[in-house]
């Protein structure tokens, strides 16, 4: 029971991370799409949306890592050892991204809208690392779901590379990227002030939604051979079909609402679609943390789990109201 609750905590934290921090990454990627007469306004909107909240948003990731190494140490050890390379790349992207954004937006020249040498380097750094981080995050999760961590471990390549350098993990990485861009675009539509700017981001949202949805279907098909445990659980199981149906319906509804210019509704449906994708995946992979090696029953002693749960409960009491205050202050208009 305790380990189930902590597994659930992991899923909820990951969901919060995706819906907040994920959108931050997506917004950074959208820097690549700024064009036309409103390019500067599009960039400014992205920066403005990110500035007060991005640091708080990314603490969810630290929470995930902490719960993992406290409650599920053996799974954590396996992941940290075998997936060392994508985790390292993810870290480098996180560092570059956070620093680049902070330097750029707090710099004197930025506030006066001047662009000089280092400034010109900071924005591409921010954008590139915003692309790499979601890719790596998805690759790591995809490797965990694919069952590849149970394959043979004779050579360096087999131990440290093949679990993640394969079609399924890589496509999950790309899917994560599209998912984050989709979320960001949908949020930015609500936050954009002018009708023209809203239209710009609505277009981007729809493109991202299409890419995401098509890729999801592709992944479903290839998972037959590339992630067999997850595929089997999904397809040879009534429950799996229900999950697919829910995800499908929410996905279509979300896409339709973008076209209908129903901005707040389409934002809510986007979040629901993404949550359905993630929770559907978790439900189908249940009870495995790492296919097919560790379930969440491979947990730390129950005293540790109890202490951790109490700690997290204190955290919820302290942090959630604080987060509410933060969002109310800066996103109140858009809630």
């Amino acid at each position: 029971m305790l380990e189930f609750l902590l597994g659930l905590t992991l899923l909820v934290s990951l969901t919060c991370y995706v819906l907040t921090g994920g959108a931050d990454y997506g917004a950074g990627v959208l820097n690549l799409t700024t064009r036309g007469t409103r390019a500067a306004q599009q960039s400014a909107l992205i920066d403005r949306a990110l500035a007060p909240i991005w640091e708080a948003n990314h603490v969810w990731l630290i929470l995930i890592v902490t719960v993992l190494f406290t409650a599920f140490p053996r799974a954590f050890t396996l992941i940290s050892t075998r997936l060392h390379i994508p985790i390292t790349l993810l870290l480098i992207a996180i560092v570059l991204r956070g620093s680049a954004f902070a330097f750029r937006t707090s710099d004197v020249d930025y506030r006066e809208q001047r662009q000089d040498g280092l400034q010109r380097l900071l924005r591409p750094t921010f954008t590139a690392s915003s692309v790499i981080a979601p890719l790596m995050l998805g690759i790591i999760l995809g490797a965990m779901a694919s069952g590849r961590l149970a394959l043979s471990t004779d050579s360096f390549m087999e131990v440290f590379v093949s679990p993640w350098l394969a079609p399924f993990p890589i496509l999950i990485g790309v899917m994560t990227l599209f998912m984050f861009v989709y979320l960001a675009a949908v949020y930015l539509v609500v936050e954009a002030e002018s009708v023209a700017l809203k239209r710009d981001f609505r277009l981007r949202a729809f493109v991202a939604w299409s890419l995401l949805t098509v890729l999801t279907l592709v992944i479903l098909v290839i998972s037959r051979t590339e992630a067999p445990e997850v595929y089997t659980a999904m397809v040879h199981n009534g429950f799996g079909w229900i999950v697919l149906a829910i995800v499908g319906m929410l996905g279509l509804a979300a896409g339709a609402m973008i076209r209908k210019d129903q901005d707040r509704l389409s934002r809510m449906l986007a979040a629901c679609y993404v949550i359905a994708l993630m929770w559907g995946w978790a439900a189908v992979q249940y009870p495995y943390l790492v296919e097919p090696l560790f379930t969440f029953h491979d947990a730390a002693p129950s005293t540790t789990l109890q202490v951790l749960l109490i700690t997290l409960l204190i955290g919820v009491i302290v942090v959630f109201p604080s987060l509410y205050v933060l969002y109310r202050q800066f996103k109140g208009r858009y809630l």
Partner: protein, 433 residues
């Protein structure tokens, strides 16, 4: 370069980098809050300008601190998976608490930095106060975890595994209180002196500036008082180390032989093969007096410890001496400033004091880095003192020189950009005030 050395170097770099920003992130919110409080109390506008200027600098430094902290939480697993598998269930909750404290800090810093016009002045100050408090809490939890590595407690052993884990005893292990005090005082002293040095530099060019005078005052109080308390904290901590980690104490003091009436060694470059300390000064009975208040007290030397369990004596001793020297200089300057204040004289028009402040600005952070070298290298060859060796804990992933070099370059570039960015920020201050 062996994989173990590469892993240790990578971790050391990540920690050495992060600690600077973490320390600033602890102390600056208090200083900003003090400045803002002065403004609310006196209505003097330069205090508001000061709080806002400090806030802008803090924003960048906090962000870099946050991302470098993220790296550390991952590197615990990337580099030391065996350690994490063993210790995760024991000290994990401490990291969870630290994460929650940091979460609160990040939230309220966002409110503070971007909410100047959105919140009432007293609420805004309150937000600043919460940032300061949660920063302290965060430091408390994470340093307690490090203290546990030195004095593991709060569990029983069963076939080499920890059972009956009690979080309270894990957290309040024998070194925890002293390490926590020492680090918090160090963070405030180092940040205070750095900020004081910057404003002293401006005062040397314009001794009439009220803005810089006020800034210097706040920095000297927030940095000077901790600098004076630090030797007391250090003394208490050294006594705890003598009790629980005799090998570390012996290395710090380069005490090769157990003896009554042990001397205190000043400076010197210990030679482990000949067991001598050339280029040093000895104060007879000094160490016995310091540790036990008894000139004939016996202090345990490295001779009671098997060679394979010796920490690297040369590095640990020299780092310790550097830290103490830096700390004593800072204490002296704090006393000097305090004496001037007591006599009713201003800091801003004594050029010698201002010059001294500029020169000693980086000393606090030099002391912080040296101190961390003492405690971390002094704990070797253990990662959990007396229980797990660092060599047993390292990842089996080969070619660790590669990620080490990657991160090394990254931190170097980042340090450069931080200095550049702050330089521009400070220069902009010069233009406006």
């Amino acid at each position: 370069m062996t994989d173990l050395i590469a892993a240790r170097s990578q971790m050391a770099m990540a920690l050495a980098f992060h600690i600077v920003f973490a320390a600033i992130g602890m102390a600056m919110p208090l200083m900003m809050a003090v400045a803002e409080w002065h403004w609310l109390k006196t209505g003097c506008h330069s205090y508001l300008a000061l709080a806002q200027r400090w806030a802008k600098g803090t924003a960048v430094l906090f962000a870099v601190g946050a991302v470098s902290g993220t790296v550390l939480s991952f590197e615990l697993g990337l580099l030391w998976p065996t350690f994490m598998e063993w210790a995760g269930p024991v000290i994990g909750p401490l990291f969870a608490l630290e994460g929650l404290a940091f979460f609160t800090e990040a939230v309220f810093l966002g409110i503070y930095l971007y909410g100047w016009s959105k919140l009432s002045p007293w609420l805004h100050l309150g937000a600043g106060g919460i940032v300061a408090l949660s920063g302290l809490a965060s430091a408390m939890f994470v340093v307690a975890a490090n203290a546990w590595m030195n004095t593991p407690a709060g569990f029983d052993m069963d076939m080499g595994h920890p059972i009956r884990i009690t979080l309270w005893d894990v957290m309040w292990n024998p070194h925890a209180f002293h390490e926590i005090m020492h680090m918090i005082l160090a963070a405030f002293a180092a940040t205070g002196f750095l900020v004081a040095g910057i404003h002293a530099w401006f005062l040397l060019r314009d001794s009439q500036s009220a803005f810089h005078h006020q800034a210097l005052g706040i920095a000297l109080v927030c940095g000077g008082i901790p600098a004076l308390l630090q030797p007391i904290s250090g003394d208490l901590l050294a006594k705890a180390v003598a009790d629980h980690q005799p090998a570390k104490l012996a290395a710090m003091e380069a005490l090769f032989e157990t003896q009554a009436g042990a001397p205190f060694v000043v400076a010197g470059v210990p030679d482990e093969t000949t067991r001598t300390i050339p280029y040093s000064l000895t104060i007879p009975y000094g160490l016995s007096l310091l540790l036990h208040q008894d000139p004939q007290a016996v202090v345990q030397g490295l001779d009671t410890i098997p060679d394979s369990d010796w920490p690297p004596v040369t590095i640990v001793h020299m780092a310790f001496q550097l830290m103490v020297a830096a700390g004593l200089i800072m204490s002296f300057i704090a006393l000097w400033s305090g004496w001037r204040w007591w006599k009713g004289r201003s800091f801003s028009d004594n050029r010698r004091l201002l010059q001294a402040l500029v020169l000693t600005a980086p000393l606090g952070f030099i002391a912080v880095e040296a101190g961390w070298v003492v405690t971390e290298v002094g704990r070797q060859p253990w990662i959990i003192y007396g229980i797990m060796r660092t060599s047993e804990a390292v990842t089996p992933m080969p070619n660790l020189w590669l990620p080490m070099s990657l991160f090394g370059v990254l931190y170097l570039v980042l340090s450069g950009v931080v200095i550049w960015s702050l330089g521009r920020h400070v220069a902009a201050t010069a233009e406006r005030i």
